[in-house]
């Protein structure tokens, strides 16, 4: 069996230097609740940063790879996306 199959296991392989405040913000939580049945960000985000919790979107920014997919892929342009402060965020060691 291959190792590191789940996203949680994959994320353990990555070094993060998380800031205390998020660089990702859902602009209008109501849009996720009422207009977006697919909640497609919870599918395509490669780090599973977005998790739907019954009535709200939980944003686990600490594990973000800073790829930008959510900003581009959100069908309602409902994600405010910035870079983490200098030196914070993901730290790739190899690839």
């Amino acid at each position: 069996m291959m190792k590191a199959q789940t996203i949680e296991e994959k994320q353990y392989l990555v070094r993060f230097n998380a800031d205390t405040k998020s660089h990702l913000h859902v602009l209008d939580p109501n849009i996720c609740l009422t207009k977006c049945p697919d909640k497609i960000c919870t599918i395509f985000c490669p780090a599973s940063v977005y998790k739907w919790e019954e009535v709200r979107m939980h944003v686990g920014y600490e594990g973000c790879h800073e790829c930008g997919s959510c900003r581009i892929g959100c069908p309602y342009e409902n994600i405010q996306w910035e870079y983490p402060r200098g030196g914070y965020g993901i730290v790739f060691r190899l690839g």
């Binding site: 994959k10 392989l13 599918i43 490669p46 892929g73 690839g95």
Partner: protein, 431 residues
């Protein structure tokens, strides 16, 4: 730190560092800003670095740069569920000077390259985000950073801030990218003994192999998988247009697992230990998506300018050459003390005349074509596999009979015409 430089380069990837290196070498006072802890900390690529474009900047860099393996074989797999038709070229001329290309690990390589720019006299400042361009009277005059009192001024600013390119967007050089203009790639670095790598990929020490995987690697949606050999690791990944993931509701890391566990791939990576997981966007809009690349006091290079040839998985080379051409233009502009758009626009002309503009123009409709018509990946690759299986299986049927069976497998007359038309169309967008 003086508050004004001749030039500020935002982003210490291959494009930004190439630009800063060339400028510093020519005696231009250049600041290279990097938001990561070190250059490479935010950067990802499958791992192929092209010798020619790097050597245009640093001759014989391969004698000291941290490279993984020179590539001597490039394989292309047309993969179905449990079969693959593979095409390959292996040439030992690629294994000796002047080489063709190398695998690299970006965190190591980018640090080395930025260090070379520093040796030339560039000032590298890490852990600093350029949050916006400072615009005065319609011209870019500097950048606002996230440091206290963080405004820095320059005659010209080079935006090498990568695929997301927030600064070029802020200047109105492009709108937000569409999901079909970017590919989301996920990848893992897998640790594996170097002798095992060499045995499995049929390599001598200090030889490398790349494998591009089409078809079932992406479950038929437009994209590719890849498997590259490093010294004592493998890079395995898969990239698809973001629009494809959205349409098919596929989780990218599950697709990566699918590739890793595919019976055509698994034997290559068996027993390896994952040591890093990475995700990144690749700008794949091509020619039609190239934004405005020159304005008053500002130039855009590399991924930020969508300079990627997705068909040939070339990007780092275009990044470096665009950085070099931007530097050439700036040196000329400095000599005339004219940093206006009409002066700096010479960069765009140089870009379009170079292999970058030519190659992107050649494939300008390819990505869009293959995205619009999914049958190439969904139907024709499995069809090719069935044909090969039929032809090479010895079961007592005559070869004529086999050819007839393959012909029947192509479908009705109407379907055969469609296939012929699709092949013609594919030729048209690729030629």
């Amino acid at each position: 730190m003086p508050e004004k430089f001749d030039c500020i380069v935002v982003g210490a990837g291959p494009a930004g560092t190439a630009c800063a290196y060339e400028l510093a070498k020519a005696g231009v006072n250049v600041l290279l800003l990097e938001r990561g802890e070190y250059p490479g900390a935010k950067n990802v690529m499958g791992g192929v670095l092209y010798r020619k474009m790097m050597e245009d900047i640093i001759p014989e860099f391969y004698k000291e740069a941290p490279l993984e393996r020179p590539i001597v074989e490039q394989r292309f797999m047309m993969m179905d569920k449990e079969s693959a038709v593979t095409f390959s070229y292996k040439g030992l001329e690629w294994g000796r000077e002047p080489y063709n290309n190398f695998t690299v690990l970006r965190a190591k390589f980018d640090q080395w390259f930025a260090e070379k720019a520093v040796e030339q006299g560039a000032l590298l400042v890490c852990e600093t985000v350029a949050v916006e361009c400072i615009v005065e009277n319609g011209r870019v005059v500097g950048v606002r950073t996230d440091r206290p009192d963080g405004d820095i001024y320059a005659d010209v600013v080079v935006l090498a801030d990568g695929v997301n390119s927030l600064l070029a967007k802020q200047l109105g050089f492009h709108r937000e990218w569409r999901p079909d203009e970017v590919a989301l790639a996920t990848m893992e670095i897998l640790k594996l003994d170097k002798n095992i790598i060499e045995d499995r990929f049929n390599l001598e020490p200090n030889q490398g192999c790349t494998i591009e995987i089409f078809g079932d690697a992406t479950k038929g949606i437009l994209g590719t998988g890849f498997l590259y050999t490093n010294k004592d690791t493998l890079s395995i990944g898969v990239g698809t247009l973001l629009s494809g993931l959205i349409k098919h509701k596929i989780k990218p890391y599950e697709l990566l697992e699918y590739v890793k566990n595919h019976p055509m791939i698994r034997p290559y990576i068996q027993g390896s230990e994952p040591v890093e997981y990475l995700a990144h966007l690749i700008p794949e809009g091509g020619y039609h998506s190239i934004p405005k690349v020159a304005g008053n006091g500002v130039l855009v290079v590399g991924d930020a300018a969508q300079l990627v040839n997705a068909i040939h998985r070339e990007g780092s080379n275009m990044a470096m050459t665009s950085g070099r051409l931007a530097a050439e233009t700036i040196i000329m502009a400095k000599a005339q003390n004219d940093f206006s758009e009409s002066m700096l626009d010479q960069y765009r002309m140089k870009l379009m005349e170079s292999f970058i503009g030519q190659d992107l123009k050649k494939y300008k409709d390819a990505t869009h074509h293959f995205e619009t018509f999914p049958q190439y990946f969904e139907q024709y690759i499995p069809m090719l596999n069935r044909a090969a299986s039929q032809m090479f299986t010895v079961d007592g049927a005559s070869k004529w009979e086999k050819q007839k069976k393959i012909w029947r497998d192509l479908g009705s007359t109407k379907q055969k015409f469609k296939l012929a038309r699709d092949m013609m169309k594919a030729w048209k967008v690729m030629k």
